[in-house]
Symmetry: C2
Subunit: 364 residues, 2 copies
């Protein structure tokens, strides 16, 4: 239990998926543009007063797939807007936080649709334990080593100060300019309250922030994106001057369209992340339909808000200063997977030279 | 479902009894004086912005009975303090609100300890439906009639402007002076947002506010009090000048003691209520171990905060003005039952005459 580690007051906020569905079934028309801002403002206040955040994720990836997608989008937008003050504090690591997965029957059934329910749940737990290095003989040491490796990788990239990344793969040819004074991160970090935290468990990525105006070319998703209860498959978008000028998907295209119409920043990148194809999660060969897992199985990009922690001295910079260095601003931050064992990644130096970073999905 | 009645956004806050227990098992020492004030402040803000409140009560009456009662008291105190701003808005009916019961396995097992679990749950639901007049042919009309009866009863008492009540029964001889410009209430009322609400379902009481300095004599509880997961039985207290000068109980005496030590107001009365012994809940002969039921089965008094709505024009009065009229102020408001079929109640007029109100637990 969390408090065995010495936590003080623990306040649990439980979500209820049946109640979330009832909303779409019985809610009045104006309610779909409403969000409990008092609750999110309260959470922000709690973070300001020093509360840590432990999110336990086990959502049913299909929960909202049969609901009216226009209403789903409106709810997502209203919620993102109300949640923003709290999210800002989280993104700036004003407090320590982490997200961990927990197997639920609905999630397990989505990942293993052909297994009996009990077996599906047990299998998902096994994968969670394996991906989270819990079944190592000494999980704490295993995490320390893994964390050190991710830091080494990020430091290496930080020393090089590359100006762009070039992704090439099937139906992908994308040049992602990196923000000025960008910082690669990976593994844990010390939050501004002085506590060290690993924000995502599991984690396999090193990531930084693209320059919002310097993304060119086209890119195709390599795994379905489970986005707030709906599924978006085979996303294909084209960037010009950092902005999506063309977007489609073989499934969930309407949801994608509404997502990128959330605001101007929703059409631009807020994150780019490198993950080798040999990561334990990718090796499982499974689609977990959960960003916490799937984003750690493949190189990915995120549409929307960028993290100020991905800038040198970012915590001390104003939003205007960050924007002038290329930081993107949006109500959303949605990761989706573009990596595979057929993806090559080159780094581009300030002088314009190409340096191979990954070949066939693996670090060079 | 609530939203079928046209509710807008519905935000559910779920409590989790196992988590509440874990707190007592694993919480750090200082955590027992802490409360999530950010959450309660948020709720107050929600009420200010027009949110209604629907509380669904089905607590396990025995939940905390095996925990360290000193820690339980500290938690109750910290929670009451943090909740106070929200409770003030509720007590003043700034918004419409109601509390309704819902049968839970733990509550049902406490009420029917000798029945199989399923049967206990079904029986408790039957009693909830019966007490809440849901199994009438036309429940809405039944409620309108019942509500009109309670209003008639309250109006009658308001016209008389009695200055005190005198309770006599086995081990009870208590004179409860009523506050200046007190107002008897019963049934539903129009909240300050203009919406009519019946704050408790079921409800059988008419009630008003005693004068905090004018309570004399001794009184003995006639039903056990289930107080935040512990049971207090055979409470016996003596009042002088409105203040408890002696208190004991055959069980839970320590919890009672800590409760009345919460603050100065916790030793004084904030409510007095009249309920005939023939009320449907009393007729069931059951002890529900839930204030929502048990307080509607018998005349009762409450220690602690009084309701400004129990004063003529109370909503427009300051706390100081209310206090000068006899209103009590406290972090707590705890009802307990003093009525029975052996209780006589007289009203005392301003001239000092006695008028019989109830004999052997029934209205005269």
């Amino acid at each position: 239990m969390p408090t065995r580690a010495g936590a003080s007051l623990v306040t649990t906020l439980l979500t209820d998926e049946p109640a979330a569905l009832l909303r779409f079934r019985y809610g009045t028309e104006p309610s779909f543009d409403a969000a409990p801002s008092w609750l999110y403002e309260g959470m922000a206040e709690a973070f300001r007063r020093g509360a840590a955040r432990l999110a336990v994720a086990g959502d049913d990836p299909w929960l909202l797939s049969h609901e009216d997608q226009e209403k789903v989008s409106r709810v997502n937008r209203a919620t993102s807007k109300a949640y923003r003050p709290a999210l800002e504090l989280i993104a700036r690591f004003e407090t320590n936080w982490t997200i961990v997965p927990s197997a639920t029957p609905a999630w397990a059934a989505a990942v293993f649709p052909n297994l009996p329910k009990d077996e599906a749940l047990a299998r998902l737990w096994e994968h969670i334990f394996s991906a989270s290095r819990i079944n190592h003989v000494d999980p704490v040491t295993a995490w320390k080593e893994h964390d050190a490796n991710l830091h080494r990788r990020a430091n290496h990239l930080n020393e090089r100060r590359y100006s762009a990344l070039h992704f090439r793969g099937p139906e992908t040819d994308l040049r992602v300019g990196l923000a000025d004074d960008h910082l690669w991160l990976g593994g844990g970090m010390t939050a501004r309250n002085g506590l060290y935290c690993i924000a995502n468990i599991p984690t396999e990525e090193v990531f930084t922030t693209p320059h919002k105006d310097r993304v060119e070319g086209y890119v195709t998703s390599t795994k379905p994106l489970s986005y707030k209860g709906t599924m978006i498959e085979n996303i294909r978008v084209k960037f010009e001057g950092g902005r999506i000028v063309q977007a489609g998907a073989s499934r969930g295209g309407e949801v994608l369209q509404r997502m990128i119409e959330t605001d101007e920043g929703a059409r631009r990148l807020g994150e780019v992340a490198l993950v080798p194809h040999s990561s334990p999660i990718a090796s499982s060969g499974l689609l977990f339909l959960n960003t916490l897992f799937d984003e750690n199985a493949a190189c990915h990009i995120a549409l929307g808000h960028s993290y100020s922690s991905c800038f040198r001295g970012g915590a001390g910079l104003t939003q205007d200063q960050l924007a002038s260095q290329g930081a993107n601003s949006s109500l959303i931050h949605v990761d989706w997977m573009i990596g595979s064992n057929r993806m090559d990644v080159d780094a581009i130096t300030a002088a314009g030279d190409s340096v191979p970073l990954m070949r066939a999905g693996e670090w060079v």
